[in-house]
């Protein structure tokens, strides 16, 4: 309940600033361009595909790449959304309003998480309108489409959780943004080093799990990876906030 109060205010605040609107506009514009070029490409190779039995359909060739591209853009913008959540409150000393109210630290962190997550779901909704528009001319593989949505939602929540943790550590919003961007990028590409197939690095890499889901393979391993990721970083954020109170 308290989390919802905080989330409501955070979300409102987000829309009071031009940042939220700019992000919505820019992502939509870039992804629409990518979507169109993908559709174009699909149309150009469609005649060749007809002859091949079991050829990839429109969901594989248009929808999945669209969400794949969206993930990279999110990698860039989520740090900007999360950077202010905690570090700004600490800088402006408004955090003491929350600390002296009858609210637990986890409620504060979850409230902030929810606010950003709801905003990201709005982005996801507007992105998925593009593949849905294909329904007017053809058919989508609904299972794969839903798997893509699940992948996106989990990915967004994970980026969000890490961003909030960085915001809890950093004393300045920009530092938080740079740190979370760096961490996310590293986690994205970390399996490059394990070209010979280092199982650990492959497991750590976000991209591996994301791509599995994007291909329509919903396995508990991947889902659990994301859930662990989210819960882990949120609990670390709570610990970090608690540390403010205990500071030596």
């Amino acid at each position: 309940m308290n989390s919802l109060t905080i989330a409501g205010r955070e979300l409102r605040n987000l829309f009071l600033s031009p940042l939220a609107w700019t992000i919505l506009g820019v992502t939509q514009l870039i992804l629409a361009y990518m979507f169109l070029s993908q559709v174009d490409y699909y149309l150009s190779i469609q005649p060749k595909l007809v002859g091949i039995p079991g050829a990839p359909g429109v969901t594989d060739l248009v929808v999945a790449p669209l969400f794949g591209n969206a993930a990279v853009i999110l990698l860039l913008i989520i740090p900007l959304l999360t950077m202010r959540t905690i570090s700004d409150e600490r800088r402006n000393k408004t955090i003491s309003l929350l600390l002296s109210a009858p609210i637990s630290l986890s409620e504060i962190v979850i409230g902030k998480f929810l606010a950003i997550f709801v905003f990201l779901l709005i982005i996801l909704l507007s992105i998925s309108l593009m593949p849905l528009s294909l329904l007017t001319v053809g058919n989508l593989d609904h299972g794969k489409f839903l798997a893509c949505l699940l992948a996106m939602a989990l990915l967004m929540a994970s980026f969000n959780a890490l961003g909030i943790y960085m915001s809890a550590i950093a004393s300045q919003p920009t530092v938080a943004a740079v740190a979370s961007f760096g961490a996310l990028l590293l986690l994205w590409i970390i399996d490059w080093a394990g070209s010979n197939g280092s199982a650990l690095l492959e497991y750590i890499s976000i991209m591996r799990h994301f791509e599995n889901l994007l291909r329509g393979l919903v396995s508990t391993v991947d889902v659990f990876y994301f859930i662990l990721f989210i819960v882990g970083f949120l609990s670390l954020s709570i610990r970090r906030l608690d540390n403010d109170r205990l500071q030596k």
């Binding site: 109060t5 003491s96 109210a101 009858p102 109170r245």
Partner: protein
């Protein structure tokens, strides 16, 4: 009378530096406690600990019987806190901000509107409800901070330097407000402006280098402040033996230009005797001034007493 705040053996260390050292006190309902001390004495640290913003190294804090560490939600529900820097979201309007605070304190929907209106009325904010906090003057922002602290009708209100940065008229208004709040709530007020304490508090505590060095009711303090010495000036040199012989006189100190400080027992009045004596002896009495110790004196004597230094 019920005790609303109980602080026992509170200690807070930052590394090697001991900011608050073994402080204990309690506050009853309807009391306004003035918390005094020089800069860096540990006032804000103590207040932050009472409000759960900082956890103590040792000791316990109970708000209305609830331990702030064991039952933080129940304890914090009884608290209203205005930190040194008012925690305001500058991109909200006063109304929005206050209803958000009311929600955070778990007020019900119906109660929120009423409490916001009441809070604004008490702090003189009724006219600025629709304005953005960022556009308000410092004084009004401070008032929003106070409104935020009293909104949910807490039994304990803690104000950290509430009159900093206000103009004299606003200071008077805030003092009036604090005195009024003191009737229904318990108030802790930290400041380093001494007249403020005399004006609005019923009890005074002075903290110095983390230690509580004075805990006195305002009556007790004014007792301390009554004069125990006279300043006299004569035209002719007086015979000091005669003055010494007056009952209750404990000492005479010669100052410059025929001026003397005559100390006497507290609670006795010797000015009349001195006047009669001076007239009879034709010393040419020019001045007779009972010396008054003000708050500053007491404050300075306590905080500069070498025995209080480590």
């Amino acid at each position: 009378m019920n005790t609303l705040i109980e602080v026992n053996n509170l200690t807070r260390q930052f590394g090697d530096h001991c900011a608050v050292d073994d402080v204990s006190f309690s506050l009853n309902k309807g009391e306004v406690l003035g918390f005094l001390g020089p800069n860096g004495a540990g006032k804000s640290t103590t207040m932050k600990m009472i409000c759960g913003n900082l956890s103590p190294t040792a000791g316990e804090i109970k708000i209305n019987g609830y331990d702030i560490l064991d039952q933080p939600k129940l304890a914090k529900a009884e608290l209203g806190f205005l930190p040194e820097i008012p925690p305001l979201y500058s991109d909200l309007t006063v109304d929005e901000f206050l209803s958000y605070c009311a929600k955070l304190h778990g007020l019900r929907k119906k109660a929120i509107k009423q409490s916001v209106i009441r809070g604004k009325l008490k702090c003189g904010l009724s006219d600025v409800g629709n304005r953005l906090i960022a556009n308000l003057s410092k004084g009004y922002q401070q008032r929003v901070g106070i409104a935020q602290a009293i909104l949910h009708n807490p039994s304990v209100i803690i104000l950290d330097e509430p009159t900093v940065g206000l103009d004299p008229i606003q200071i008077l208004e805030i003092r009036e407000l604090i005195r009024e709040l003191g009737k229904e709530h318990s108030v802790i007020l930290s400041t380093h402006i001494l007249p403020e304490v005399q004006h609005s508090c019923s009890r005074v505590q002075i903290i110095h280098r983390g230690k509580l060095v004075l805990n006195e009711s305002i009556d007790g303090l004014s007792q301390r402040m009554t004069s125990s010495s006279l300043l006299v000036r004569f035209g002719e040199p007086p015979e000091l033996d005669l003055i010494q012989a007056i009952e209750h006189v404990t000492g005479i100190e010669a100052l410059e230009q025929q001026q003397y400080r005559i100390s006497h027992h507290q609670g006795s009045n010797i000015s009349e005797h001195i006047a009669i004596l001076a007239v009879n002896q034709q010393w040419g009495l020019l001045e007779l001034i009972p010396e008054k110790h003000d708050m500053e004196h007491i404050f300075l004597s306590i905080t500069q007493d070498p025995s209080n230094h480590e």
